[in-house]
Symmetry: C2
């Protein structure tokens, strides 16, 4: 075999144009041309509300009261024990989930939660499933762990999990299924009915195949829910062989600080061995420990969030206006995304047309579902208000 100077798969990933990132960068160039205030950039899922002030209070207090060597030193690879104990208690208080500190593994954020979990359980030949539309990095993470991503076509009516299609695609090679509720990119929260039916299929298939099938719940948006009646069930309560992959990025508006955790359900088959594999995976990937001060900060701010009412206001404003202009919008209960049917078949072409009106939208193809756009409404309410006439004109262009 010819000498390869580097890993070609990594080169491909490093060079792959992310449509989200590309749109964002177009926006920056356009802002220089016509002024930031005239560009309506809805491309990035970067929280736009500040961290709660209590986060900075915690940092100040920790610096004043904690020995520097302790505060900034290595924690145990699995995370500081008091931090894990506090998080477990908070989860149990909210969801009665029966989690202990030793079921938790602190991570450098949601992506790390996923890669550490996937590298712990996936083996060559395994299939890992997910439901379209889905966060495009799932493919990167699953393939880097040496397995195959199998995607279930979208339920284009409700954007719940398409369980009929799922049942047809699951095979004895299915090792794990990643689900994401509240969902990126749709903003939809899966109903209890949908989740229960899904877990029932998993249990039946475990029995049929005679082996474990892991449910990996990717939950960075858990706290971003805007209707008081919306319930986001805690997955370890519905299905035993569950990992919960969490991040404080969105709830505390700390995406750059890289802090989250994995719950290995205490009810999982061979959970002690699986937890050890998680530890081995974190070690192999080079994580060492989650950022030490951030561990203490999040433990100090459990139950707190940034001012999420801004997102709700943005959602209502955008959903109501776009629906009125003739767009088909999927009603989002959570996250900070609005999922809208493109006004022509090709979502990429539609997004290019939208740029004529300075609207920067993300086409749905990279989410595994054609014909839609994602609008990230984690922006200022003012920008949304200013953008509405552009959305109206765009609809009019398409004869709405």
């Amino acid at each position: 075999m010819a000498f390869q100077p580097f890993q070609n798969s990594m080169l491909a990933l490093g060079q792959a144009p992310s449509v989200i990132r590309e749109t964002f960068e177009y926006g920056n160039r356009r802002a220089q041309e016509i002024g930031r205030e005239n560009v309506f950039d809805f491309s990035l899922g970067n929280p736009s509300v500040p961290a709660p002030e209590s986060v900075h209070d915690s940092i100040r207090r920790l610096m004043d009261e904690t020995d520097s060597v302790m505060l900034h030193g290595y924690t145990s690879a699995i995370g500081a024990e008091p931090v894990r104990a506090a998080i477990a208690a908070d989860i149990n208080r909210r969801f009665d989930a029966g989690i202990s500190a030793q079921d938790l593994y602190m991570t450098c954020g949601a992506a790390a939660s996923l890669t550490v979990t996937l590298h712990a359980v996936l083996c060559p030949g395994d299939e890992c499933m997910t439901f379209a539309p889905f966060f495009p990095e799932y493919r990167v993470f699953v393939e880097s762990a040496g397995a195959k991503l199998v995607t279930v076509p979208a339920d284009t009516e409700q954007f719940q999990m398409n369980l009929a299609a799922f049942e047809k695609l699951i095979t004895p090679n299915t090792k794990a299924v990643i689900i994401n509720t509240p969902n990126n990119p749709t903003g939809v929260v899966f109903t209890e009915e949908n989740l229960n039916a899904f877990c029932e299929i998993l249990r039946n298939k475990e029995a049929e195949y005679g082996h474990v099938i892991y449910l990996i719940a990717d939950e960075p948006y858990r706290e971003l829910v805007y209707d008081d009646t919306t319930i986001v069930p805690y997955l370890t309560n519905l299905y035993d062989d569950t990992f919960v992959c969490y991040s404080f990025s969105k709830s505390l508006s700390l995406p750059g600080e890289r802090i989250g955790y994995i719950v290995v359900s205490p009810k999982m088959q061979q959970n002690t061995l699986v937890y050890a594999a998680v530890c081995g995976s974190g070690r192999a990937l080079g994580f060492v420990c989650a950022p030490s001060m951030a561990q203490r900060v999040v433990a100090d701010n459990l139950g707190k969030t940034g001012d999420l009412s801004i997102y709700r206001k943005n959602r209502d404003l955008l959903y109501n206006a776009l629906t009125e202009y003739g767009y088909r919008c999927i009603y989002p209960d959570g996250a900070f995304y609005l999922w809208v049917q493109a006004l022509e078949e090709d979502a990429n072409a539609f997004c290019m047309k939208a740029r004529d009106y300075e609207l920067l939208l993300v086409p749905s193809d990279s989410f595994g579902c054609k014909g839609y756009i994602r609008i990230a409404y984690c922006v200022t309410t003012e920008m949304i208000e200013k953008s509405l006439p552009a959305f109206k004109k765009l609809a009019e262009y398409y004869g709405k």
Copy 2:
């Protein structure tokens, strides 16, 4: 093939007893039995001097002056541009290395610098070399990247790189060589002569094999050097195809905060493509970005360190006393480790005997070199003073 419920290699890593960690945990149990002050734990390389006060000043100032959404938001995956520019300028000021911001990739610490680099360049069938004694995680990181670690036997006289053995072991499959100076576990700084001869071999072998051989310089201890005349050459100045993997863990006493960087030498063959592969690798492993506030903090504290004079004092105290008691100590120019020949052939047995005197030492076997012990002197000077009679009695037990 039988169904595997998890990745057995990860399980093995998660369950593998690290002798360092095991010694540390024995120390904790022993401290509960006889009091912390009576246990002389030299097992862990955790900085014992506090971060410079300027680190907390920077954090306070950043919180006061920077918009929260900006401060705690995602940076570019490669790191914030002003941070990379500041670090590049600092490197150039100190080493005249001709580095630019675009040659730098910010990471979550030294382990991440290594795993991201190794996953970027190593392919199945590749060999990655290192010199014994070496940091045991090198094996974990190289094997997780799908390659084979080839270790060069130690030069047990000077503990410089054993170049005669290296020349015999290098093959056309050698893709990279990891070196670590100042060295963990020996504390030795490789001489300019040794480094130049090493780079000359690399250049000759590149020509002979007709392909690149990467030098990966693992440099977390660069600033921990105790003799003013000791020079730690900057490797990109000696060899073109060099990565510098750096961490601020030891210099700023921030090991838990997980902040470091990779330099991809601008003189490296195909450096633009290699840099892209580094980006792809960081993405695939789930790093997203280095912790955002910590990026700004280290950029604000370039050239600063904790009070390293404590380590120098500890080194002198320990080296002089142990030499006087009849131990053969390798003189350490840097890092915070003292490398001592065990007083019996089996270093493990020697370390068990040392426990009779409440001395917790790390045997050298896991560093790829039998018959020595590592003493991590990043502890209080007071503990070293109290431990000296125990070292003396241990020597006397062995007839010294």
